[in-house]
Symmetry: none
Subunit: 226 residues, 2 copies
Amino acid sequence: MNKKILYVEDEVFLGKIVKETLETKGYDVLMETNGAHVINHLQRFHPDICVLDIMLPGKNGYEVAAEIRAINELLPIIFLTAKVQTEDVVKGFKTGGNDYIRKPFSIEELIVRIENLLQIKQSAPDLLEEEKIGNFLFYPTKQLLVLNENHRKLSFRESELLKFLWIHRNAIVQRRDLLNHIWGNDSFFNSRNLDVYVTKLRGYLKEDPSIEIITIKGVGYRFITG
Amino acid sequence: MNKKILYVEDEVFLGKIVKETLETKGYDVLMETNGAHVINHLQRFHPDICVLDIMLPGKNGYEVAAEIRAINELLPIIFLTAKVQTEDVVKGFKTGGNDYIRKPFSIEELIVRIENLLQIKQSAPDLLEEEKIGNFLFYPTKQLLVLNENHRKLSFRESELLKFLWIHRNAIVQRRDLLNHIWGNDSFFNSRNLDVYVTKLRGYLKEDPSIEIITIKGVGYRFITG
DNA sequence: TAGATGAAAGGTTAATTAAGGTTAAGGGCT
DNA sequence: AGCCCTTAACCTTAATTAACCTTTCATCTA
């Protein structure tokens, strides 16, 4: 069963390219040029994700997003925008967007963001019941972190964060990906939230000096394990 | 060192402009007006990316792309076209194009897409966990520089700069390559930024007089290690 | 042709801005 | 209540920008 993408774009020419490319990647794509028709499609097509151009004739992307949100709280929405003002981005998140991409974008980039929101991890190996992280033992499903006799129960977010960092250990993980994965979008409200959780994890992990969460300012983090 | 672009374009006038612009951005550009000659160039020039106009005399862009694909599965291909028919676009992607730009296009847009496609397949030569630089030990992923008992944590940019210089030690590295690698572009502002980071690194490295970052005015730097 | 001159590139240090770190105070949920 | 998440306030540090200084090199002039 292919994942379904509802793609709202008034530039027909660009739209056809994007649609066709996504289809070759194994998605079912319904393309619509008129914002006012989106709601109808939502009911019949049942998309897994929406990609909305912001500059639409008639109804703009924000309005469409708000309509979608009224019906479906969780459906991931990606905005495409030519504008670069922060206000627009903020507005995008406020009306319920999960991610945004600036035009001109490369199709590769769009695919990455789509897969990210759909949680299709290219090669994310499944975690075992028990993972050895430095001197710690981490039990992902139990949300438990053990060092020697010291058992610490992790909260859901703590555990998700550790999981994500561990899966991508020694690689740079982008803030944006963490936020999308754990909080569902990367607005700057949640952004500060991530900082708080990184601090918490660092606190837990500091007993083993061979483990470190390195900050890459403006980009994300890198989880180092000896 | 520079990335190589094979650019196939029959409009000589436009072609010259694009070629020159790309060259100022630090690419080596081979321009060809005849589609039939492309394959020869492929063997000798070994481009990192191809930019193909679709309307070519003799052999059209799709045919050329198919030929390229037969030899190299992964080489990124960008199509340029003035045609507006969708069938052409679809055809382009089916013959293995990675991206697509409609004429008239802005050169900025072309550059964005080129860089995007290059990043995807780009992977720098790997460094070891621990590299010995003069009397220092450098831990690239840990962003750590050690001299005797003296541990210095490097910031991301400091570490990236040192990595780049070390990989190209004893060779001349161009400012614009450094800028493109660390800052993503070589605009005027980042240029001064690089100066600041070079000064910082020199400060850190001055404890070992056998190491030196030599300035080559107007070109770049040379990292000397005894 | 030596030396003067000025422009351009880069060096250095400091100021500014922005990102993130830390801690603690709300606020909702069970 | 107790837990977890969020938000806010305040602090620290990295990254950027700016300002001013030095070197280099080409060109001009005596």
